[in-house]
């Protein structure tokens, strides 16, 4: 019984939160890695693209709620998602036309594009706050739990409760669907293949008649879609606050780099690796340890390796360790 309790506690406090956090990081890192693979620079504005997109989703959600449109047991934000994606895609395409295209024509070095993307980041940062404010916003509605802790305790007779929030379930499910669709798209469709071709060998792609502007536009649209989905899922799961999305840029980049920049599979693996280590290192293991170990060995303290304040340090420690042994990341991305 103690052993079962330990497993439930582990699921409840580590596996489920880390999986949904990992799915959010993976979706964010996919966007970063696609931009890197095709446009060949690290897009620092990605976190704020997520924030902007989520803000749009929240506004549309409020509009829906005010006229009484709801999505049954699911969050209304899911209905608003396509609108948020459309607005954000329009914004990033406009940014590309107004800013990045100029530097592409100049054949600017990647490092210049990185700095340019930081400029874009600060502008988006300001625009988002201007539109929706700096405070914390909760916009989840619909059913709260798939598995409720108290009902779980009653049904199983275990001392530990298992809570599986609907936003967590939704995050994982959506991530699976989106990733499957993305991989189908990249591997099976002509557009996806031309993106891979362009990423693989730009010169040859151009001389095979692939239109670079179209590849770039499609990449931005997909990256915007991924950013808005990741941002909305993160906001539903926790809450929306513009600054949090700016901070999220760090673990997202860590995920993309650990997996190998430019490699979609790597972004997913990196996302989960970072999420599980982050949660694993900052979780207080006392409860699980007390169940599993004999009484004499039960820890007195919290058995927490690091305070949650250090969670970003964990991402970067993983980053350094992986790059020491595999300089191009786990899945052989492009050299950074």
């Amino acid at each position: 019984m103690d052993f079962l309790n330990a497993i439930v506690a582990l699921l409840n406090f580590v596996v489920i939160p880390a999986t949904s956090y990992g799915a959010q990081l993976a979706l964010g890192a996919l966007g970063v890695t696609l931009i890197y693979g095709i446009l060949r620079f690290s897009n620092f504005a990605h976190g704020d693209t997520m924030a902007f997109g989520t803000a749009m989703v929240i506004l549309v959600t409020w509009a829906f709620q005010s006229v009484g449109i709801h999505f049954g047991p699911l969050p209304t934000a899911l209905l608003a998602l396509p609108f948020g994606i459309a607005i954000t895609a329009a914004l990033v395409l406009a940014t590309d036309k107004a800013v990045y295209r100029f530097y592409r024509r100049q054949k600017a070095a990647p490092v210049i594009l990185v700095i340019v993307s930081m400029g874009v980041m600060f502008i988006m940062n300001g625009v988002t706050r201007f539109i929706i404010g700096v405070g914390e916003i909760r916009f989840d509605d619909g059913g709260r739990f798939i598995v409720n802790a108290n009902e779980f305790k009653k049904a199983t007779g275990l001392a530990e409760g298992l809570a599986f929030r609907s936003t967590q379930g939704l995050t994982i499910l959506t991530a699976i669907i989106v990733v499957a669709a993305l991989f189908w798209f990249l591997n099976k469709t002509r557009t996806g293949k031309s993106m891979r071709a362009y990423s693989d060998n730009e010169d040859l792609a151009l001389l095979s008649g692939i239109n670079p502007e179209r590849v770039v536009a499609v990449t931005w649209i997909i990256a915007a879609g991924l950013a808005v989905i990741a941002g909305t899922l993160y906001g539903l799961d926790k809450s929306f606050k513009a600054f949090n999305y700016f901070q999220l840029l760090l673990p997202i980049f860590a995920s993309a780099i650990v997996g190998g920049l430019g490699s979609p599979l790597g972004a997913i693996a990196g996302g989960f690796l970072i999420a599980f280590t982050e949660v694993g290192f900052t979780y207080a293991w006392k409860k699980v340890a007390t169940y599993v170990l004999p009484d004499a060995l039960a820890p007195d303290g919290l058995a927490q390796l690091l305070s949650t304040d250090y969670k970003f340090a964990v991402s970067f420690a993983i980053l350094v360790i992986v790059l020491l042994f595999k300089p191009t990341g786990l899945f052989k991305g492009k050299a950074v």
């Binding site: 798209f185 002509r190 060998n201 040859l204 001389l207 095979s208 008649g209 692939i210 239109n211 499609v218």
Partner: protein, 262 residues
């Protein structure tokens, strides 16, 4: 017909192409030879739209195509291959070929999701065409191999195959025979001649192998130091004193003389 008029391409103070004027007649297999650093590849790159010329014009069938980007030139039927073979290494040989024809239905996001049937039919046709091309090049057994795993010579064949996926008008081959063994070189040579005869492709070939040039090309243009040094039939070029001095060396002339006497 391609006419290049007074073309200059300078990199800083270095004049890679220094006022070259050449003509490539429709239906010909024109050879372009010259010592390393003569500006042959740079000339190719300017014609193919990779570099903007410093001065001069490129005219294709009466239309000024100077400085157009590569993918636009591709649509006009002007293709090139690379000195060092390029390929999409993570895709199969067949997929590499299927990448080529531009303007496919599946190129827009909308069609990708909403016109599956039509795209599937188009792709089936393309796959068939790719297999025909591989047959022609005698490498059909490699269709499902990842292009990155091919040998250097096989990659050269793939480069040639890429030009066969569309109705090219003129194809620029940059050292198609470099690092390729004799047997494979003959295969490549045969393919070039057949494409020229059967499909009416015009070729412009950079090559150092004089046997290969002599067998295939007429006329031959010789470049040195960014300028055109001589032009004529392969035989006349091999007898040309200036060309021998700048490029061919004495050995070849002696060999040609010996062959003529024998």
């Amino acid at each position: 017909m391609i006419v290049v008029e007074g073309l200059h391409k300078h990199f800083g103070g270095f004049r890679a192409v220094d006022g070259a004027s050449i003509e490539i007649a429709t239906g010909s297999i024109t050879g372009l030879i010259g010592p390393n650093g003569a500006g042959k590849s740079t000339l190719f790159n300017v014609i193919a739209g990779v570099y903007q010329p410093t001065a001069g014009r490129v005219i294709m069938d009466g239309e000024d195509i100077t400085g157009l980007p590569p993918h636009d030139l591709f649509h006009k039927g002007l293709l090139r291959t690379f000195q060092i073979a390029h390929e999409f290494s993570s895709m199969t040989v067949r997929e590499n070929l299927m990448m080529v024809p531009a303007g496919q239905l599946g190129e827009t996001l909308w069609n990708t999701w909403f016109h599956r049937g039509r795209i599937a039919r188009e792709e089936a046709e393309l796959a068939k065409k790719a297999d025909d091309v591989l047959d022609f090049l005698t490498i059909s057994h490699l269709a499902d191999e990842r292009a990155g795993n091919l040998s250097g010579g096989q990659k050269k064949l793939l480069e040639l195959g890429r030009t066969m996926m569309v109705d090219a008008k003129i194809v620029f081959l940059d050292e198609v025979g470099a690092g390729v063994n004799r047997t494979l070189l003959n295969t490549i040579g045969d393919a070039i001649v057949r494409l020229n005869k059967e499909r009416g492709y015009t070729f412009c070939v950079i090559e150092h192998d004089m046997d290969f040039i002599g067998r295939l090309c007429d006329p031959v243009i010789v470049m040195a130091e960014g300028k055109v040094l001589a032009k004529g039939s392969a035989d006349s070029i091999m007898q040309n004193e200036a060309v021998i001095e700048a490029y061919l060396g004495r050995g070849l002339k002696n060999k040609a003389k010996a062959e003529a006497e024998a």
